[in-house]
Assembly symmetry: C2
Homo-oligomer: 210 residues x 2
């Protein structure tokens, strides 16, 4: 844990803070698909991501989902950042996209460290800033783009996150993430294949030239 913490956060946190994290934090390895947080749940701790990726989702009234963004190494969940103020419930669902290593920090420490460590303040403000900007980017694509562009963006981002040029998902799963129907995705994917941009296979999609 100590080595991995230093590798990921050593350059942004001061020595004393690193030591405090080591003392109160718990190292966790999360398997792909594990649900870290659900809507309406109370927030217990804040995760500092060391490796892997977490997908953050929003849910509509019918229980259908919409992918918001991914958290990666060096990120934290900004939704947990306000938990220390009161009994804030989660507005989002978080699921491990890949096997993930992280350190869980008890939320009580957050307020304390914010007063104490400048590097922690910077980290927290940066996190908020990044999350807000990610949300805006997501909102842009939903509000301004048509489904074909959203799909291309989704495939690119997914490939980047998983460090592969193959998307290991069914059309149905993609449809859930983009909040549309399987038929729509199949239709658009077929068009992309005909344009020579991807190759379609059962349960996976090979990206050629997006």
């Amino acid at each position: 844990m100590i080595q991995e913490l230093k590798a990921s956060y050593g350059h942004i946190f001061e020595e004393a803070l690193i030591n405090e994290i080591i003392q109160v934090g718990t190292y966790k390895e999360i398997p792909e698909g594990y649900k870290l947080m659900d809507i309406g749940e109370y927030i217990k701790g804040m995760p500092l991501l060391i490796s892997g990726a977490i997908k953050v989702l929003r849910e509509d009234n019918d229980g259908d989902e919409l992918l918001l963004y991914y958290l990666e190494q060096g990120d934290t969940c900004s939704m947990t950042l306000t938990c220390c103020m009161g009994d804030a419930k989660s507005e989002i669902r978080a699921i491990a996209e890949t096997d993930t290593k992280l350190i869980m920090v008890p939320v009580q420490k957050m307020e304390e460290w914010t007063a104490k460590y400048k590097s922690w303040r910077n980290f927290i403000f940066n996190s908020y800033h990044n999350r807000l900007n990610e949300l805006l980017t997501t909102l842009d694509s939903i509000a301004f783009d048509k489904m074909d562009m959203r799909l291309i963006g989704y495939l690119k981002e997914k490939a980047r996150i998983n460090k592969e040029d193959t998307i290991q998902n069914t059309h149905q799963e993609i449809a859930y993430d983009l909040h549309t129907s399987r038929v729509v995705i199949s239709r658009l994917l077929k068009k992309l294949e005909q344009m020579g941009k991807i190759e379609l296979h059962r349960n996976h999609i090979k990206i050629l030239d997006l």
Copy 2:
């Protein structure tokens, strides 16, 4: 300024902080329609709203707009909150929705006060929290609702913000805010009128029962 600051923020900021704000802040009265901030601009100060409302917009590649949310009394612009970290440019446009009174605080103070005052930390974290949640609500309505529901929500919110049951806007202006076309808005408004929910007039809309 002092009285108005205390009336709006006296119950959340400690005495010493109020005094600092009085020393370094500048009181401003902003007329309706004034552009406080545009996309790509560097952020100079953070506004603490005393009265009035500010609409916050996002822009697409064609220069068309989309209303994100309103800032009201007790709010601050969370986009400015990260400016102190580096040279962050604004991602949004902010325009006074009504005549607005606010206090501008130089951004350098933010980091200093975050270390020094617990009430300031709470305020900042609360602001981020509220802004994130507002953004999520906006995103929900764009992603999950159809235009008729978005329009109803828009009219309700606009009436609430302006403390009137009359919306002083043309169909074209509403269309801009919702990122759609005037014809679509006219069509839907006419339906709402036929359902007895609103009354249409030139340049304004009377809300009956939304």
